[in-house]
């Protein structure tokens, strides 16, 4: 075999393997869409479950997931953006900074079920919030921190140093410079990270298992100290815990969850692409 032949062979093999990676992804999405599309309609989205969840809709679970995502945002935004500003603008090259970076890397690596255990031990039991929206949002919020911090830091660092130099030389203080000249330009990037993080949080099951998720609730939660149903947990429950569940309900729930999370991921990607095109420096 000549060198040229082995090159051609290698490129073909590499291409074939890449197809092997890409095709199943499309198959999974196509599968869920094809089976679920028949179930999902306005009634399915706006009605509570009936007949032991075997009929009706998924409204309480969908609403619960949206509330949890909002709660996650409240927890993760101030701390996440604050930490990103700290790392990008204030942190020097010292032991403290290295500890913060190590912490973020490790937060990103901790398994989601371990966050669930932490939420149970710290928020549900120790702080006595009980199984509640607060406990769930705090757990999800902490889990989302590393995503928000790393994307926001990257966005802040991407703002050219000249912006800072000019602003400082005109007599602005450090914080004024960050507030008026760095953050506005970093905003699209920060937004990307937030949407990505919240999308991931909305799709998570393990962290909410013991902190907030309810198997079934006849009523909607009335305060943030109540439990709520949530879409990912609902999918788990109706596909493994309820015998005689019509498959259509399962596919429909999977489709709604998939669309909700993917639309967030895709819009984050879109914002990032548009931002890269429009960047003027």
């Amino acid at each position: 075999m000549t060198r040229q032949q082995s090159h051609t062979l290698a490129v073909r093999a590499i291409t074939a393997v890449s197809v092997l990676v890409i095709v199943p992804i499309l198959l999974v999405i196509g599968y869920v869409v094809a089976h679920g599309i028949g179930t999902v309609d306005w009634t399915f989205l706006t009605q509570p479950p009936r007949d032991g969840m075997r009929a009706g809709g998924i409204m309480p679970a969908l609403l619960g997931t949206l509330v949890l995502a909002a709660g996650t945002a409240v927890v993760t935004l101030p701390a996440g953006i604050g930490a990103a500003i700290f790392l990008a603008e204030y942190a020097g090259d010292n032991r403290m900074t290295r500890a913060v970076r190590l912490a973020i890397v490790n937060l990103a690596g901790i398994p989601s079920i371990v966050y669930g255990l932490f939420g149970l031990g710290a928020f549900v039991l120790f702080l006595r919030f009980g199984t509640s929206i607060v406990a769930g949002a705090l757990t999800l919020g902490i889990m989302t921190l590393p995503v928000v911090i790393s994307t926001a830091e990257e966005a802040i660092r991407a703002v050219p140093d000249q912006f800072r130099t000019v602003s400082l030389s005109l007599g602005a203080t450090r914080w004024q410079t960050i507030r008026h000249h760095v953050l506005p330009h970093a905003l699209p990037g920060i937004l990307t990270g937030i949407i990505l993080g919240l999308g991931r949080a909305a799709g998570e099951t393990a962290p909410i298992l013991f902190t907030v998720a309810a198997f079934y609730l006849p009523e909607l939660p009335r305060s943030i100290f109540d439990q709520t149903m949530a879409l990912p947990y609902h999918l788990y429950v109706i596909s493994t815990q309820v015998p005689g569940m019509p498959l259509g309900m399962q596919y429909g729930t999977a489709l709604v969850l998939l669309l909700l999370v993917l639309s967030m991921t895709l819009s984050a990607t879109l914002i990032r692409t548009r931002m890269r095109r429009r960047r003027e420096w």
């Binding site: 490129v11 989601s112 203080t173």
Partner: protein
């Protein structure tokens, strides 16, 4: 550099503000900057708190269950037998299977994206891989349960819910991490290396195989490590498709066609039913400690390697 609208919108102040106003503003800035530093430090505090709470809730298990029993081969909580070995073995088998599948696939896809694919293809393929990273694990678990498990059963297993089913799902969940970090590692190889190899007559494949891959070695090692970390901590999908049998899988050709139960799945499946404060409850937290230590170790070493090689700057996220 051209002036941006945001900059011209803020004119320099014509006169210095009165001293009182200035000092109160300085005070406000101090407060803001202190809050920012606090946010940074809070990440360290949170990691410490997570570990402390896991330890706090698992103390009883470590004190009251003899170490020999924790290292034992039987996990029967109802009879008070808390041997971690079957669960560790389950996690190990599923993770090894996932790595064996995901590492070659991920690395080769990264080579395709970074070295071979034309830019137009790359712009389509990369978002598809990001989509994979965005699919919730419960949805992948669901598809594995209704669609993949029946296929696996046709391979000759008594049930479709096996270690192999879990490994396949986990492999695809680890792929985005492995692909994105390996691609960064390939990207970090200086263009001069490739030019040099091509100039002395190497084919593109020889260049990739003999020059680019060895140069990107440390980044690829990091990609594999973080992929393992991702696989070992995955919970819901694995719980749905591995059959949840807490036995040490029998070695042999059918190793991957047996039902197993991972550490993560055990916590998720049993925590809902245990009495809070019981020994069983505490033991589940002890499994959490084991998982925390494993993933902390993996990420710590990977983090050090990244620092040492000056390699990939972007972390696990796509």
């Amino acid at each position: 550099m051209t002036a941006t609208p945001a900059e011209s919108a803020v004119p320099p102040e014509p006169t210095a503000p009165p001293r009182a106003a200035r000092s109160s503003r300085l005070l406000a800035e101090r407060v803001i900057e202190a809050a920012i530093a606090l946010a940074g430090v809070s990440t360290v505090v949170i990691v410490a708190l997570i570990f402390l709470f896991l330890l706090r809730e698992s103390t009883a298990a470590f004190l009251d269950v003899p170490l020999r029993q924790l290292m034992g081969t039987r996990w029967y909580p109802i009879e008070g037998l808390f041997g971690f070995l079957p669960l560790i073995a389950g996690s190990l088998v599923v993770t090894i299977g996932a790595v064996v599948i995901a590492v070659p696939l991920g690395l080769i896809t990264a080579i395709y994206l970074g070295e071979i694919a034309p830019p137009s293809q790359r712009e389509v393929l990369k978002p598809i891989i990001e989509v994979l990273a965005g699919i919730p694990s419960i949805v992948l678990g669901f598809v594995g349960w209704v669609a993949l498990a029946p296929l696996v059963q046709q391979l000759g297993a008594t049930t479709g819910l096996t270690a192999l089913t879990g490994s396949l799902i986990l492999a695809y969940m680890a792929l985005p991490t492995i692909i994105s970090i390996s691609e960064d590692a390939l990207y970090a190889v200086p263009k001069a290396y490739r030019d040099g190899a091509l100039a002395i007559g190497a084919t593109q494949w020889q260049t990739i195989w003999r020059v680019v891959l060895p140069a990107a070695r440390s980044g690829i090692v990091i990609a594999v490590m973080l992929g393992i970390g991702r696989a070992i901590g995955e919970t819901m999908a694995v719980m749905m498709v591995t059959g949840n049998a807490a036995n040490i899988p029998a070695l042999g050709p059918g190793l991957f066609l047996q039902p197993v139960r991972t550490m993560t799945a055990t916590i998720a499946a049993e925590m809902g039913e245990v009495q809070r404060g019981s020994l069983h409850y505490s033991t589940l937290f002890a499994i959490g400690v084991v998982l925390f230590v494993i993933t902390f170790g993996i990420n710590y070493v990977a983090g050090r390697l990244i620092g040492a090689s000056g390699g990939p700057r972007r972390r696990g996220q796509l």
